[in-house]
Symmetry: C2
């Protein structure tokens, strides 16, 4: 690995409240309490559950908490703090948040929420976190251009995390794709972009656990290479 | 390691708003917005910063977000999900939250906050999370009774995480103590209870990163032993 590790949280359950449910009682009361227009509020199952039933793919949506946990687990690692991981959050609505090198994510959920709401509402190509519209294909093909893309999924072939890290280290511009959603599997579009689909444990693991283990093993493999 | 791994998050920055600042504007407005009495609200630097300056040890307090992240990083691991980790949260006000085996912590910060507020307000010796008063000494001596206690701190001797995991595995009833606060060091009382003070990286790492790496390495060492 001569370059950085690209880390993509794909199809992430991070979006603003969609139009269909802006007038639902759950969203309206949240909007009133916060004094923020519903269209600028993050969809959150823990607050808007009753309104979410009628959304398409409802079970994969509205989990900013999960996205937050996964981002913290990556951005707290020495590999990231050394500037060796590029982080992209691709959302289920085809927005992308791209972190500038070593940018820290607020650990407070309130601050993370405020940041995500601002980025998704206003989109911006400046600042420490860029926000722009792009599907997973466009993100991978145009922005990341990886030599090899490793997708993490329970549908993948089981491999040891150390082995996976070795395979990642053997690539010039490797990319790891982890699902940023709570249930279900990658969409066909995402699967078509993945060169190797693997799982690192017999249990299904949460995104933040997968992310922290993969980054950690790559960090260890990189340290060995540098010795 | 014949028994479970004991994991203690010590001196955690998790407490209800203390009396001294109940009437501060920051707390009063938070209380009004939520419709909850200030004395039953978690102290949170991201909301009560302006009022916190006059608290003793202010810089170590009011970080429930950090406690939440550390707990998620432990309770999401297969070792924990297999029932092989006992988790205790000791707070800076000498309360203890004790998780029953395999108990999951809400990933949503709102739900975590509600749970912690209820537990700290009401204390209970029943349910999936027990809450009781105990100092770190009482917790370790009476509840955990570890064969050996490993403290994680930047003040400790540097060791590899794999080596640390091996030392942990060599003990019958090992205990790992990680600081649940953002800055500063363990109190003297905590240090006096630690048999080995170690650090696992040259960088200071956040509690959730330390926790996830230590548990992961113990999990790997345990899998080797069981093979």
């Amino acid at each position: 690995m001569n370059s950085k590790l690209n880390f993509v949280l794909a199809e992430s359950a991070l979006e603003l409240v969609p139009k269909e449910i802006l007038r639902s009682p759950a969203v309206a009361s949240d909007s009133r309490r916060r004094g923020v227009d519903g269209s600028r509020i993050l969809l959150d199952r823990s607050l808007h559950h009753s309104a979410m039933a009628r959304l398409r793919d409802s079970e994969k949506r509205g989990r900013p908490d999960l996205v937050h946990a996964a981002l913290l687990s990556v951005t707290g690692t020495p590999l990231y703090l050394d500037g060796s991981v590029r982080v992209f959050i691709h959302t289920n609505q085809d927005a992308v948040l791209e972190l500038a090198e070593r940018t820290r994510i607020p650990k407070s959920y309130f601050r993370f929420r405020g940041l995500a709401e601002k980025l998704l509402s206003e989109r911006s190509d400046e600042g420490l976190v860029k926000a722009y519209g792009a599907g997973i294909r466009e993100l991978l093909r145009r922005k990341v251009s990886p030599g090899r893309t490793f997708g993490l999924s329970v549908q993948g072939r089981q491999t040891g995390p150390e082995e996976l890290a070795k395979a990642i280290m053997a690539e010039k511009n490797p990319c790891v794709v982890v699902g940023g959603f709570p249930h279900g599997h990658f969409a066909q579009e995402t699967l078509a972009l993945v060169d190797e689909l693997v799982r690192i444990h017999e249990r299904p693991l949460e995104a933040h656990v997968v992310a922290s283990r993969v980054v950690y093993e790559v960090e260890k493999a990189a340290a060995l290479t540098n010795d």
